[in-house]
């Protein structure tokens, strides 16, 4: 059952289109992430859901209730939407204590006195800040401020929790810790979360589903595994993780496989399973068409000799770094240089030839771009 439905949502700022007619359905209890680089429209979408920004077209529904529909002149004010929000800057009110900050939404809902104290204490315990009620908000560390912001957004049991890059102001270690806590918190409270981030690690590790945005358009919506392993567009493929791209030309086609002729990587052709072909119109793939083979570094095995069957290509080893639990091999393949991680030491010479075995299930085939 979807709690939030977005239809044909459109918003522009001074003739620059920020959100371009997107459709989304978010299920009750889901941890849903809007992922994209800055300026892609993800924050604008979130703010339109919260009512802090008015769309120019389309509609947003919460359950059966229409929250906003400019064509029908409907707009529910942010304070009437019953959504909690955590801001990137936390936006704690500096003139209030922790308790006053968290109790504010309760006060506005007529909850006062002992009942409010109980609720605040509960939610502060939930975010791990029990006992800090009387501290002034600015006297807290960054991580604590963020927990207060979270408590404030959760204290009135909102139907939807909106998170606008809440982890981006924390240092790396704290960010990782908060990421884990956020996930377990969401499971316990079972609130629907809409999370905006530009950090793919956060998106992949936290989300039930991810929507990847670019220039105001949804590129792909799916589970973390779906968007990572079967990206629908070149943008999604290049945005999430790293890939080697090998340009080639389509050769023989069979029911199960596509052969791709490649040059300059030691072998003449690669075999890609048919199911890994990113389906496109215009009759792709057909023999003779230019194409790209994409493979993630983690689907590549290194070896010093050219043995092994199937897709073995030749690259150059640029550098090796030992990082304790792993080795990082900087490898140039074709025209691209990427890092391949391996737990084992290899008897390889820097600057020398290296053989790479491309695992069939890790390859995807794309029509040549441009």
């Amino acid at each position: 059952m979807s709690i939030l439905r977005i239809e044909n949502l459109y918003k522009s700022f001074d003739r620059v289109v920020a959100v371009n007619r997107i459709h989304l359905e978010i299920a009750e209890g889901e941890f849903f992430t809007l992922l994209g680089s800055s300026g892609c429209g993800k924050t604008t979408t979130l703010r339109m859901i919260g009512g802090l920004e008015k769309p120019d077209g389309g509609a947003i529904y919460m359950g059966e209730q229409c929250l906003v529909a400019p064509e029908k002149n409907i707009f529910v004010k942010p304070e009437k939407r019953n959504m909690g929000m955590v801001f990137q800057s936390y936006a704690l009110w500096p003139h209030m204590t922790v308790f006053e900050n968290v109790a504010y939404p309760l006060k506005l809902r007529g909850i006062k006195g002992a009942q409010a104290e109980k609720k605040v204490a509960e939610v502060l315990a939930l975010v791990g800040l029990a006992g800090l009620e009387e501290r002034p908000a600015p006297a807290l560390s960054g991580g604590q401020q963020q927990r207060v912001a979270l408590a404030r957004a959760l204290v009135f049991s909102p139907r939807v929790l909106l998170l606008d890059e809440p982890l981006s102001n924390l240092d790396a270690q704290l960010r990782e810790e908060m990421r884990r806590e956020l996930k377990s918190l969401q499971r316990r409270v079972h609130v629907t979360v809409i999370f905006v981030t530009h950090d793919q690690t956060e998106a992949l590790s936290l989300s039930d589903r991810i929507a990847i945005m670019k220039f105001g358009v949804l590129e792909q919506v799916g589970t973390p595994e779906e968007v990572y392993f079967t990206p629908a567009t070149p943008f999604v493929r290049d945005f999430l993780g790293k890939t080697f791209l090998l340009p080639g030309r389509i050769g023989a086609l069979s029911d199960d496989h596509v052969r791709v002729e490649v040059r300059g990587v030691g072998t003449s052709s690669l075999t890609v399973p048919r199911i890994n072909v990113i389906s496109q119109s215009n009759g792709f793939p057909a023999a003779g068409q230019p194409a790209l083979v994409a493979i993630r570094p983690e689907k590549i095995a290194l070896s010093s000799n050219g043995s092994g069957d199937g897709n073995v290509v030749e690259g150059t080893l640029q550098a090796v770094q030992f990082l304790g639990d792993r080795y990082e091999y900087t490898v140039t393949l074709g025209e691209e240089t990427r890092v391949i991680v391996s737990p084992e030491a290899q008897q390889l010479k820097t600057g020398g030839k290296i053989f790479l075995e491309l695992k069939a299930e890790g390859m995807t085939l794309w029509p040549s771009e441009g």
């Binding site: 919260g50 009512g51 802090l52 008015k54 004010k77 942010p78 304070e79 009437k80 939407r81 019953n82 959504m83 909690g84 929000m85 801001f87 990137q88 800057s89 936006a91 704690l92 009110w93 500096p94 003139h95 209030m96 504010y104 939404p105 506005l108 809902r109 002034p136 600015p138 912001a149 404030r152 957004a153 009135f156 909106l162």
Partner: protein, 578 residues
């Protein structure tokens, strides 16, 4: 080897006398000079309140001046009047200023920038122009508005008298009472992180609740600063009360001091006694003010700047109309009225056979007194500007960039003048120049006026310079030092050129202060050294309204005109929230 060095240093730092090096000497010179300049005249006021002989006579100490002064009810009344004006004014102006700043900075009011500029104009509009403009409109018998009211049915009995307590409050409001607050608070409101308001909306608060519970409380530090600046100005206010209060014998403390000092024979000792009372009050108040202002406040500014404003909905147009009306009352009405005063045969008489005339302008531009006044004003204002910018840039630099001991003392001395009413510093300088034989020849020269006017705006000037030095990358100077340049060479070859633009702005600010204000020099000027603003006060007092309009227009051009030019070069005045 290293050990001996450490030991040596320890002894050095424990030594009784600081090592006499260039830095300490520079600091001593600066503190000495500024102390002599700022504090000595004030000390003279206190000392001479216990003197019963007049200036330039051998002192005879006694309590007579205090007894005489406070035996008279008039002095008490004048003090109470100052306080009363201050309270009534702030009660009206502060909430209004906060509300207008909020509208301008945080809502989607129309033409926000243009309206804000209107308050900026009002801030630089000489108080003399606003006061006189409204005098022409609200004079009980000849005021234009009053004669219009008489012609209307129903309200014909209505008559506004500007020569009243309400009139004084009104003119305070439309001259600087509102505009200072709006000008200082709007940028601070604008810098506030919008997500604090958005968080409140998301918590379930309406736009109005958010303003009352979040925006205004979060801005408290800035509001307190602005309020304290206004409170201290209660005792600085002078021209309005002189023009609107003295005609019906309503004195505030500053006009009372001038009245005492200008009586025949002059009661300067009583004036000093009255001044001392204010100095005692300020001595208690300034430390509180400074602590509150300079204490590290909670920051309401975040790195993320999002100029997201609140949608006023259907209130957008009434709100815009309200603020626009205030701007019209602050700028347009008084300016038109003063202009009208100078071009009309008789102001407000539109049915005369010859309504408009250039006669007064022809007269004025051939009037040697006006030309003399213009010359005096230019000499005083330009000197104050140039000397002020050069001198205070060194002070600002020393305060920000060096670790010399005594910086806090120097900083405090530079803070004082903003709190010292012009009339008092004028009175102090009068004692200093007439009472000290070496200085006496300077009395009656423009030099004395330059000295007095340079004090005006010291605080603002050093604050602007300080904040600019802070922004100036320290590496630029350090690399000069590493290249082998000493302190002075670095200052003149690196810092000075980099700060040139700021110095020009400081010079312009000091120029405007000097050209506009008359309270510090009213006791020091003679008929030969009168500036335009003093001349205008005399002309108004003598009833030459049309000529006074022209003098006031000249003062306005010198201040507002210069301010507008300076703004195009980036002059910005504001308070930082931190």
């Amino acid at each position: 080897m290293a050990k001996t060095e450490t030991a040596h240093l320890e002894i050095g730092s424990r030594a009784w006398l600081p090592r006499l090096d260039g830095g300490t000497a520079l600091m001593a010179v600066l503190i000495g000079a500024m102390g002599f300049y700022v504090l000595y005249p004030l000390a003279l006021i206190v000392i001479n309140s216990f003197n019963t002989a007049t200036i330039a006579e051998p002192p005879v100490y006694g309590l007579k001046a205090w007894k005489d002064a406070f035996g008279e009810a008039g002095i008490w009344r004048s003090l109470w009047n100052s306080v009363k004006i201050g309270i009534v004014l702030q009660v009206i102006a502060l909430p209004l200023g906060i509300f207008i700043s909020w509208l301008l900075a945080r809502t989607n009011i129309l033409w926000g920038n243009a309206l804000e500029f209107g308050f900026w104009i009002s801030f630089f509009l000489p108080g003399l122009a606003t006061t006189f403009g409204w005098m022409l409109l609200l004079d009980p018998s000849t005021g234009l508005i009053n004669s219009w009211l008489r012609q209307l049915p129903l309200v014909s009995g209505l008559n506004f008298d500007i020569y009243s307590f309400a009139g004084i409050i009104w003119v305070h409001l439309v001259s600087n009472g509102i505009s200072t607050k709006v000008m200082l608070m709007t940028p601070a409101f604008r810098r506030m992180d919008a997500s604090m308001e958005e968080a409140s909306r998301m918590s379930g608060a309406s736009a109005l609740t958010t303003m009352m519970r979040i925006t205004v409380p979060a801005m408290t530090p800035v509001i307190v600063v602005v309020f304290l600046l206004s409170v201290i100005r209660i005792f600085s206010s002078f021209e309005i009360e002189l023009l609107l209060g003295v005609p019906w014998s309503f004195y505030v403390y500053s006009t009372k001091i001038v009245d005492l000092a200008r009586q025949e024979p002059p009661l300067v000792n009583q004036a000093a006694a009255l001044g001392s009372v204010i100095l005692i009050f300020l001595a208690a108040f300034i430390p509180i003010q400074r602590r509150l202002i300079t204490r590290r406040q909670f920051t309401t500014v975040t790195g993320q700047f999002r100029p997201k404003t609140i949608d006023l909905g259907s209130w957008r147009y009434p709100a815009t109309a309200l603020v626009a009306l205030v701007v019209v009352l602050l700028d347009v009405v008084p300016l038109l009225s003063v202009l009208g005063g100078s071009f009309m045969t008789r102001f407000g008489f539109f049915n005369l056979p010859k309504t408009w005339t250039l006669e007064y302008w022809k007269m004025a531009l051939n009037d040697p007194r006006i030309l003399q006044g213009l010359q005096n004003t230019l000499i005083v204002a330009v000197s104050a500007g140039v000397v002020g910018a050069l001198g205070f840039s060194l002070i600002g630099y020393v305060l920000v960039r060096t670790k010399l001991k005594g910086r806090s003392v120097l900083d405090t001395i530079c803070w004082l003048p903003s709190a010292i009413p012009g009339v008092l510093s004028g009175l102090g300088l009068l004692w200093m120049f007439l009472g000290t034989p070496v200085f006496r020849p300077f009395y009656g020269t423009l030099f004395l006026l330059v000295i007095a006017q340079m004090l005006g705006g010291i605080t603002l000037a050093t604050q602007i310079l300080k904040s600019n030095f802070v922004q100036l990358g320290k590496e630029l100077e350090e690399s000069s030092r590493m290249s082998g340049a000493g302190f002075w060479r670095t200052y003149f070859r690196i810092v000075f050129p980099l700060m040139a633009q700021t110095m020009v702005l400081v010079a312009v600010i000091k120029f405007m202060f000097a050209a506009q204000h008359s309270s510090a020099i009213i006791l020091l000027a003679t008929s030969e050294t009168r500036t335009l603003s003093l001349l205008a006060l005399d002309q108004v007092a003598a009833g030459y309204r049309e000529v006074a309009s022209i003098t006031i227009i000249l003062v306005t051009l010198l201040t507002l005109g210069v301010a507008v030019v300076a703004r195009s070069f980036g002059l910005k005045v504001g308070i930082r929230a931190e």
